[in-house]
């Protein structure tokens, strides 16, 4: 059990560093299935685990020159009233409708990201390519 938890922890951390997420998407299911916590306790405990991961990840990205601290703090602070609203909404709206709407939104955003990253578009992501304008 301990080994599985540690391995998933490392994997979640790698994804957090690569993609700029907290890792909760992996923490929560493991804390439920392997450690045996309830859904709410798993989410709460996952949030605690995310804090040092995000701290160390942000510090490393700062050293690599990839952190805009002011913007990050603005987003983080404004997310707090947003989260309170979200908790209120989840209790007021039909859960299934919210899930489906969010899933469709995520698929749309995924498409946008792939389109932006696709070759043929001029971007700094492909420095070898001459500007074809």
């Amino acid at each position: 059990m301990v080994v599985a938890t540690i391995l998933v922890g490392v994997l979640a951390g790698v994804l957090a560093g690569m993609l700029g997420i907290g890792g909760g998407a992996l923490f929560v299911p493991v804390l439920i299935a392997v450690v045996g916590l309830s859904q709410v306790d798993a989410e709460a405990t996952s949030l605690l685990a995310i804090v040092p991961v995000a701290l160390v990840g942000a510090w490393r990205q700062h050293r690599y020159g990839n952190l805009r601290l002011r913007d990050g703090l603005i987003v983080g602070v404004l997310a707090i009233p947003g989260a309170i609203g979200g908790v209120a909404l989840v209790n007021a709206l039909p859960e299934r409708a919210v899930e489906v709407a969010f899933a469709l939104l995520q698929l749309f955003v995924a498409y946008q990201l792939v389109r932006k990253a696709s070759p043929g578009r001029v971007s700094k992501a492909s420095p070898g390519r001459d500007a074809v304008q």
Partner: protein, 123 residues
């Protein structure tokens, strides 16, 4: 404050509020909302978007942990058991990210969004 500054601030505010909303709705950290919005709306490079997202997540997760802690939902030992190995992982992940093309980050993120959407759609 110039017009561009105000526009940027407005977009950052939307980004934060949306991240918070989805975080409250689904119990996610907010990174899945913050990273694509910084890239698609604010013209961030992939690496900067992920680094800045982590800074925002520190604030969001810390406040949420304290709130949950007040209700006694946080299991500190279990959190450390999974969180400390993840700190090692994040050192590895951030180092690895500097060595791959930013396009790989975007495509990887799109993959994450598709998986997350499937997870939401399949009951």
């Amino acid at each position: 404050m110039g017009c561009m500054d105000r526009r940027r601030l407005f977009l950052l505010a939307i980004c934060g509020t949306a991240a918070g909303l989805f975080s409250g709705l689904f119990g996610v950290g907010g990174g899945t909302v913050i990273v694509p919005l910084l890239i698609l709306w604010l013209g961030y490079g992939e690496r900067e978007a992920t680094g800045t997202s982590l800074a925002a997540i520190i604030v969001i997760a810390a406040v949420a942990t304290l709130t949950h802690g007040a209700y006694g939902n946080v299991h500190v030992g279990d959190g450390l058991l999974i969180g400390l190995p993840a700190v090692g992982g994040v050192l590895l992940g951030t180092a690895l990210q500097q060595r791959v093309s930013p396009r790989v980050v975007s495509i990887g993120f799109a993959g994450l969004l598709v998986l997350s959407a499937i997870d939401l759609l399949v009951p």
